[in-house]
């Protein structure tokens, strides 16, 4: 995953912010505990969101504990403990990171990716044992995704579909079901979030993909022809925005039907954080600096 799903920090209450951060630390610690400290570098916001979303939908009663952290040994921070959802999300993050390294190695022959893959592979094997079902689902979805890429699929909807299915499946596996109807809503939420991630990432990568001549559905759908990058972006921006916002609107419509914990934080992320991210990526102000350190 890519780290696009963030809350709008300025619009959070302090207690919401602290709880979100506790989930952040919870996922990080869970990764460290299960897979070794090096794997903690793979942490990203999307998996924190996944962990918190699942934990909220499953209505887990989590416990919070103040613990020190390697990154900042002097300051003790709140950490979410005893959450199956957080552990599950840590597994998923490791599996996805493993596949990302693997792809980068096969696509670009990046030695850094190979190194990453080697470092992470014992963790990957352990995660595989914990979540076999999720792993095979991820593998299947990514195969579909790559097949579409090699066919040079020229529709963002079709190209994004496997990734939507991937997230939908992960969330669906991570939930304890007591009600089929709810399952529909959760899956629709997952599908739309996955689609949003895929499309926003495609837009974010336009420059890079032009440079490297790599596959990007937007370049094909809107028939990019040696024009100025910004001109191309201006040409497609409104339509892409419309699609991204509609995807979020659909995700929000599913969210409104769910009964879960931490509603206000998830609401912040869905309505404010992701909307803000959409704007900043589309306007080309994806500035990572103030987002990395929470």
């Amino acid at each position: 995953m890519f780290g696009y799903i963030l809350p709008d920090k300025g619009e959070m209450k302090i207690k919401e912010y602290e709880l979100f951060r506790a989930y952040y630390c919870g996922v990080c610690k869970s990764m460290g505990k299960s897979f070794g400290p090096l794997c903690r570098f793979a942490l990203n916001y999307d998996s924190v969101f996944l962990g918190m979303l699942l934990s909220s939908i499953n209505k887990e009663s989590v416990s919070l504990k103040k613990e020190p952290c390697i990154a900042n040994p002097l300051k003790r921070k709140w950490v979410v403990k005893n959450s199956n959802s957080v552990d599950f999300s840590a597994d998923i993050n490791i599996i996805l990171t493993y596949y990302k390294f693997k792809d980068d190695w096969t696509d670009e022959k990046s030695y850094l990716a190979k190194l990453g893959q080697i470092v992470i592979s014992p963790g990957y094997k352990r995660a595989l044992n914990c979540s076999k079902e999720a792993e095979s689902h991820i593998k299947k979805s990514l195969e579909k995704l790559h097949a579409l890429e090699s066919q040079r699929c020229s529709s963002m909807d079709i190209a994004a579909d496997p990734f939507g299915e991937l997230i939908k499946g992960i969330i669906s596996i991570g939930c304890n079901w007591d009600n089929d109807k709810k399952k529909e809503a959760v899956e629709w939420l997952g599908y739309n979030i996955g689609k949003w991630i895929y499309i926003i990432d495609a837009f974010d990568d336009i420059e890079k993909d032009i440079e490297k001549n790599s596959y990007n559905p937007l370049l094909l759908q809107y028939m990019y022809k040696d024009e100025e990058v910004n001109e191309f972006k201006n040409r497609i921006r409104d339509e892409v925005r419309f699609n991204l916002i509609h995807t979020l609107a659909q995700a929000a419509s599913a969210f409104e039907l769910l009964d879960m914990n931490n509603k206000s934080i998830i609401e912040n992320i869905l309505y404010l954080g992701m909307d803000k991210k959409t704007k900043s990526v589309l306007e080309g102000r994806s500035c990572n600096k103030d987002e990395k350190s929470l």
């Binding site: 619009e11 529709s155 963002m156 909807d157 079709i158 579909d161 939507g164 109807k181 709810k182 529909e184 809503a185 629709w188 599908y191 739309n192 689609k195 339509e239 419309f242 699609n243 916002i245 509609h246 995807t247 979020l248 609107a249 659909q250 929000a252 419509s253 599913a254 409104e256 039907l257 609401e267 912040n268 309505y271 404010l272 909307d275």
Partner: protein, 207 residues
Amino acid sequence: MRNPYEVLGIREGASVDEIKRAYKELVKKYHPDQYRNNPLSELAEEKLKEINQAYDYLMKQYEKSGSQYRNQSSSYGSNSGYGNDTSLYSQIRMNIMNGNIQAAETLLNRVTMKDAEWHYLRGLIFMRKGWYNEAVNSINTAVNMDPSNMEYRDALNRIAYANNRYQAYGYDRRYSAGGPDLCTMCQCLICSDCCCECMGGDLINCI
């Protein structure tokens, strides 16, 4: 039945006005129009039913019978006033309504004459699959082929309306839509400093 106050998201013992306000908001949020062409429409209907029940219960508690909203809500049936469909098209529509997207798709592929209705139905199927770009393109084609058809236009407007609603909700939710920004605060501080200096004092000693 769940606690009706909880269902409406208000504190216990809220006033009639508060109940009405909360109810109105929720009806807007879960109105079938918001969930048209959305696979979760049934779930939204259930939610609305629960809200209606809670509202009715509370209103009875307050010994007020008959609300304008309830009458409105009971008329949210599925209004099926389709005109001159061929039987295949109405079959496809039935399938889309019941959520049998795959069956609808198979039937649609059997149609050889690709007229406006065909593109419209294809758009609805795309909507259900979550392929919004394809959906909008298909429905646009339908509108261009048959500009007088209001149903097609309606569908397009509804998609756009969902976007506006999503963004409006986010906007309303923000804490300080009208508060001073940093620039205004700096201006105020500098002005105050000038004023103080006029009078012989000093507010910010480095300026």
